[in-house]
């Protein structure tokens, strides 16, 4: 077999990168579980019928067939899931009699899309979703909670600063209603281009596509320009003089999300009310979330979601929900590619037990067992090579300690970084806690690159 080459769009990690990914997933899981969210994993496949209900991305689905399906087999009609929301809807309907509602679940799994690969877009990638689903109606306070949970998870992650932008679809629709806008989606589509086009072009779009007059255009642009880190945006909206009951409800909700996440702000994480954010998808009906990573704005949003009034419906019953999805691969891949995030070593091993002679391997094994039973990841040297070679084995992997045992049962452990070697007892020696498991080393981007 000749040497295979990487497959475009299907990123894979080296062991030291995988350690970072594991830590990120561990942190997410630990946070989600501490809030009482249950883990769910769904099968990788869904029926195409199920997936094509969201017509707009049917092109991206990978369809499966068995290699040697016989002629009598109809097309199997199944494909790989392209997100974790469609599977959740199906899982909730399928198991509704066995679940308790409100159903709070997290799901950390790979998803697949047959898109053209580029940085930030992959054909296989890892997502971490949290959602709360209820029956018929869902309390608003979960729209605050999911933002709090993601904030808390991010606070423990060694990532560049993450900036969450929040808006509220009721607020947007209420404002447009109050303004006499008839084609709300057309206005949203135009406002959504504010990042890419100059103001004059947006004005033209709003006039042509959405049939707005100059006063309406001024107010739409003034509204979309509003953002604040605290609740002060509300006064600026009120000052625009547009009145609508839905606007009042949306404004109140957005203030509660902003105030509820305020205590979680840090250098590393912020939440902003940003009235330009709308999220493309039609099914959002309340709070919407997007998140950008400082220095990596070109990736688009790495953590998005919102409130939807009908995740699924099962005849008489409707399941509303709210959820956020964090793109683990989308976030980590560019950091790995630039060498900004790595583990302190490529193996879990903390101590390498040297082997003086193959006939003494059983003795080294025993010391390994003793250290492991005390929670210290330990491996025994692959061979009784010269000690210099055994130390090199540890050094190449970043293993910090090498353990030597003399014939007289005297033990010594060497820190191969400092060269310091001290007597040690396998039943009591403990490495410094920073060395017990690999640590994550994050390099900040150059200041001038972070906006």
């Amino acid at each position: 077999m000749s040497r295979p080459t990487p497959m475009s769009g299907f990123p894979e990690w080296l062991p030291s990168e995988r350690i970072v990914e594991q830590r990120v997933v561990d942190r997410l899981r630990q946070t989600f579980e501490s809030w009482g969210y249950a883990s769910v994993e769904t099968r990788a496949v869904e029926s195409l019928d199920q997936m094509l209900r969201k017509g707009e991305i049917d092109k991206e689905v990978y369809v499966l067939r068995r290699l040697h399906a016989d002629a009598s087999d109809a097309d199997s009609g199944i494909g790989l899931h392209f997100d974790l929301t469609v599977p959740l809807a199906r899982y909730v309907l399928e198991n509704s009699g066995k679940l308790t509602f409100p159903f709070k679940r997290y799901q950390i799994q790979k998803v697949w899309r047959g898109e053209r690969p580029q940085e930030g877009r992959y054909r296989e990638f890892l997502q971490a979703d949290i959602d709360v689903i209820d029956v018929d109606s869902l309390s608003f306070h979960y729209e605050v909670e999911v933002a709090q949970i993601m904030s808390e998870a991010f606070a423990g992650l060694p990532l560049p600063p993450l900036r969450m932008q929040v808006n509220n679809r009721r607020l947007i629709e209420g404002f447009y209603n109050g303004l006499g806008v008839t084609d709300v989606p057309a206005v949203m589509r135009s406002v959504d281009k504010m990042d890419k086009l100059p103001e004059s072009a947006i004005r033209e779009l709003l006039a042509k596509d959405a049939s707005l007059d100059d006063r309406q255009i001024d107010l739409v642009l003034a509204f979309a320009a509003i953002s604040s880190h605290d609740g002060s945006f509300a006064d600026r909206v009120t000052a625009l003089g547009v009145k609508d009951p839905l606007l009042d409800q949306g404004l109140d909700e957005l203030v509660r999300v902003i105030e509820g996440t305020y205590p979680l702000r840090s250098e590393q994480f912020s939440v902003t009310a940003d009235l330009r954010i709308a999220r493309g998808l039609d099914y959002y009906t309340g709070t919407v979330y997007e998140t950008r990573m400082a220095g990596f704005e070109q990736l688009g949003s790495v953590c998005s979601g919102g409130r939807y009034d009908a995740l699924a419906t099962d005849g008489p019953t409707t399941y509303p929900g709210v959820g956020i999805s964090f793109g683990v691969s989308r976030t980590l891949a560019p950091l790995f590619a630039r060498g900004l995030l790595k583990a302190s070593r490529s193996v879990p091993t903390c101590v390498l037990i040297a082997v003086s002679d193959e006939s003494a391997r059983a003795h080294s094994d025993l010391i390994g067992r003793t250290l492991r039973s005390r929670g210290i990841p330990t491996e025994v040297s692959p061979s009784a090579a010269k000690f210099g070679k055994q130390i090199k084995y540890a050094d190449r992997r970043g293993i910090p300690f090498v353990w030597f045992t003399g014939e007289d049962g005297h033990h010594e452990v060497k820190d191969i970084r400092s060269g310091e070697q001290v007597a040690a007892d396998p039943s009591s020696w403990t490495p410094p806690s920073i060395d017990l498991h690999p640590t994550i080393e994050a390099t900040p981007l150059e200041k001038e690159n972070t906006s």
Copy 2:
């Protein structure tokens, strides 16, 4: 959308079952890492070329195509991996310059096979593999190590007793060589049927298909009947009087595996030298492993593997290895189906904070934050319903504690199993450790059903 039905061959777990699966995977990971094995995840897809090198299971591969691939797209030529060994071989070749050898990795991932589903055989299932790969030659002691690691992992799992059977291909081949057998594979195929056919039929097969004479048949059957929990099998082999250098080497190796795993035996786990075990696959060249679960022998082996001299080859370089693969889904699915294994609750939550009034929710949130910051999984009641209803919410999920706060700031916590309610301080109260996270409850099979 009408209620969807489960898809045959693609098992999914309810939240309480998923908690059990997570614990099993956590235990495996923790054990593998404590021995210094690095985690690897490979992409779900491999090129068909890569996978079809193992010709015998090409029928089972799921091939992918994009739903709306245009006419210019050639067949994508990729499919879902059907095991974790083919991907490991490809990963090692692709990254050989960036890995350090011997390369010790574990991999816990879903695999897919388009087989007819039945108990113990699924179209999507979770495998946990450990392998050690080296360049050109691999030390024998890793053949002992991988069995020790799996033994240690099993010791911490709440499963029915697991019985590992070990043999050695050198021993088998040496014995057959010494006996003058010319068609070794034909003998192996016949011996492999000893479970299913009476001795007379096996004798007939050995005479006809493998052209053995009566003395050879007697010795082959006597050899295959040998098994022992300790090294005593070696004397029984020697007593058969067959001589061959490969036999001596295989015998010595098998004794070392049995003696190396001897200290890890328990009620829950045993290792036996069993000279009937051969494993079908041609590529094994040394130790081979199979494992049966007491009371579930009909599942076949749930944990298998062996030593192979050429996992992959890259022109001048060959990569020998040894590995074992544990079938997580194959083991857990029948236990879940029979209700023999479950979690003490369906959610991670240990404490539910009651809400006396929606206007006091912020106060309940604060207590939740305090308990979570102290490592206690906590959720706040979904609504300010009557306390009886809030207690029912906890009860339905198995949440053991409900927390009440009076207007005067006095806190009480109720154990809803005993009904006992005591004063508590959120900054110091600690639940009994058994309640902090869900525990796993295993029901033994009836004695008469375990063989």
